[in-house]
């Protein structure tokens, strides 16, 4: 233990060097800006900086890239809350209650709890990372295809907690996401599916394109009706700061979100999006009165925002301890290290302590920088609500178009985005929830692949799912979570004697 403290102290020595502190600040700022813009998420932000980091010493390069990564996680929630326009898949869940809060004049507290939740989750996760990385990394490795299958199934069972009045509509929405997930080359056989000979479809449809199409474009289309209408309900600005009551109410949601997010982040093939959906669903199922979720419950913001930040930190564990990327973002960072003549692998801690411990220490620092940076920004960001919608809406559309274009520099992606926008507009007008579509898109692919991988690996057929304890538990939980509402309906009348 004492050794860790010494390393950490050494790390702070690296992280607190003026130039590294400056890079962390610059990275955090850039990350926040990039995170606020729809389309350019963590991957985009890091990609922008990558050429620049080729010229920095490895430790400084990593400190800056991590700060950007972190900054985008903080920035991602802003447009979700203020405009119901999530910029990337991991902040979709935040929009459910975040936007509802904004409409009730509680945009300030929503943004503030997102920042505070992210800070607490980030800090807790970094502490865990500092002391238990090797242990956690080997836990992550025990997750094989059957475990992932169980996890994805459990994730999909969250659909019932995202449903509005009609479960059928939620399932149809999820089906849309699952259908979109099957587009592209089938990884397990190499067969192209639903690509219609279009080369752009061979790699499948990017999450960001779908998120912006379904949420941002449809939101603009829905708002325009009101923006032009003579009667417009003015959004109350309300209180800007978080009250103690708000904080206490969301405290346990933050803690639970942190734990769930962190563990999911450690798994090399799962990430922030899955973490945010799962923690939201868990929070809703634990709530005494789940009906307040989706209608502006502060826990519905605190939980996914904590989870996606914790997942971002968790993601660094397989990267730092094993040299295995847990997401496309960390894969980019590993690529950057390689170009800087630092070979990422199990010896990273030993051979390049300045990189690793400087990075770990800088995560504490960037986290604090971001909190300090973001709380005053809350006051600035809520002012967006003052901008008349007739000016804001065209601007949002233009930003979405550019942001989506920037993902792959592809006009084809823009066409997909526009088409999905129209579909989602119909869905909204007819009370289909959009969350399940993203859930299906993100989890569908992973569930299918891991199901088939498990069956290829297994020499006992489907028994593989029941002989591995973790998988069996997850499958049981999924079944329970699907059946629970029905069971409750059967049980309830007995408890309610007339």
């Amino acid at each position: 233990m004492i050794e860790v403290w010494q390393h950490l102290l050494f790390g702070f020595g690296v992280a607190l060097r003026p130039e590294n502190l400056g890079l962390a600040l610059a990275g955090a700022l850039l990350g926040t800006i990039v995170g606020v813009l729809p389309g350019i998420g963590p991957v985009g932000g890091i990609a922008i900086l990558l050429p620049l980091t080729f010229k920095l010493p490895p430790a400084s390069a990593m400190i800056m890239l991590t700060a950007v990564y972190y900054g985008t996680m903080y920035g991602g929630s802003t447009t979700s809350i203020l405009m119901n326009v999530p910029g990337e898949a991991s902040s979709v869940v935040t929009s459910f209650d975040g936007y509802a809060m904004a409409q009730q004049g509680r945009a300030g507290p929503a943004l503030a709890i997102a920042a505070v939740g992210s800070f607490i989750a980030g800090t807790l996760s970094i502490i865990a990372l500092t002391f238990f990385s090797p242990l956690l990394a080997s836990w992550g490795l025990t997750f094989g295809p059957p475990e992932y299958f169980g996890l994805m199934l459990f994730g999909l069972s969250a659909v019932s907690s995202l449903a509005g009045d009609s479960l059928v509509k939620a399932l149809l929405s999820m089906g849309l996401g699952l259908m979109l997930a099957t587009v592209g080359t089938d990884l397990v056989t190499g067969v192209p599916r639903f690509t219609f000979g279009i080369p752009y479809l061979l790699d499948g449809i990017d999450f960001v394109v779908v998120v912006i199409g379904l949420f941002a474009i449809s939101e603009v289309l829905v708002s325009i009706e009101e923006a032009r209408g003579e009667v417009r309900v003015p959004i109350k600005l309300g209180r800007i700061w978080l009250s103690v009551k708000d904080f206490l109410e969301s405290f346990w949601a933050i803690v639970r979100g942190s734990v769930i997010g962190f563990y999911i982040g450690i798994l090399p093939a799962a990430g922030a999006t899955i973490a945010s959906f799962l923690s939201y669903s868990v929070e809703k199922q634990l709530a005494r009165d789940p009906s307040t979720f989706g209608k502006g419950d502060i826990r519905g913001v605190a939980s996914p925002e904590s989870a996606n930040n914790a997942a971002a930190v968790g993601n660094m564990i397989p990267m730092l301890t094993l040299g295995i990327p847990g997401s496309s973002t960390t894969a980019l960072m590993l690529g950057a290290l390689l170009v800087l003549n630092v070979i990422p692998g199990p010896l990273l801690f030993q051979d390049h302590p300045d990189v690793v411990w400087g990075l770990v220490a800088s995560m504490y620092v960037s986290n604090l920088i971001l909190l300090i940076l973001n709380l005053p920004l809350v006051g600035l960001f809520v002012r967006i609500l003052y901008v008349p919608e007739r000016l804001l809406l065209p601007l949002i559309v233009a930003i979405c178009v550019i942001g989506t274009y920037a993902v792959n520099f592809s006009v084809f992606d823009l066409q997909v985005m526009a088409l999905l926008g129209l579909v989602a507009y119909y869905m909204r007008r007819n009370d289909y929830p959009l969350g399940p579509a993203i859930l299906g898109l993100v989890l569908g692919d992973l569930m299918e692949q891991n199901l088939r991988r498990s069956l290829i690996m297994s020499r006992t057929g489907a028994m593989i799912f029941f002989t591995r304890p973790f998988t069996a538990v997850l499958i049981a939980l999924s079944v329970l979570s699907i059946l629970a509402p029905a069971l409750l309906r059967v049980l309830r009348p007995r408890h309610r004697p007339a």
């Binding site: 800006i33 639903f194 526009a418 199901l451």
Partner: protein, 163 residues
């Protein structure tokens, strides 16, 4: 929406009727999806247990069942008198403007296509008079261009202007 306003166009179907149409539409799309899935040829590969068509067939099946349920459910739902068509018109017009925008995006290039879109959209959203529209268009286009260029995003300059 507003009760006192006279509907200028026939009202749009909401609730039961709309769901029924949607159910039929989704059913047909899903049937096509299933039909197309059946054409996937698994390679003769030893390790293959579930073919490339299995999962799409499950998804298609789910969609067929759910659209049927929606069809049945729609008879229980009330037909809500919907808003007049005119309410949806601006949204559809904006969408058409978006479509035009992206179709010319790389040919006209970013600055010109964005300016044209903003002109149309601001006008559609009721910004008046014209000089204000022009002012905001110029302002927004310039701001977007500089913001994204500073972020090193390569925006298309327009193929028609190359060479």
């Amino acid at each position: 929406m507003t009760a006192e306003r006279e509907p200028v166009a026939p009202p749009v179907q909401r609730g039961g009727r709309s769901d029924r149409f949607a159910a039929v539409f989704i059913f047909l799309v899903s049937a096509l999806y299933v039909r197309y899935s059946l054409t996937f040829q698994p390679p003769r590969f030893r390790s293959e247990v579930l073919g490339p068509a299995t999962f799409p067939l499950m998804v298609g099946g789910l969609m067929l069942v759910c659209s049927t349920l929606l069809f049945i459910e729609s008879f229980r739902a009330e037909d809500k008198p919907g808003a007049p068509w005119a309410v949806y018109l601006p949204a559809l017009l904006l969408w058409a403007a978006l479509l035009a925008y992206i179709l010319v995006f790389d040919r006209l290039g970013f600055p010109l296509s964005t300016a044209l879109f903003l002109l149309a959209a601001l006008r559609l959203l009721g910004v008046r008079p014209w000089w204000k529209i022009l002012l905001y268009t110029a302002l927004f286009t310039a701001a977007l261009f500089y913001a994204f260029t500073a972020l090193d995003v390569r925006l298309p300059p327009g193929e028609w202007f190359r060479r």
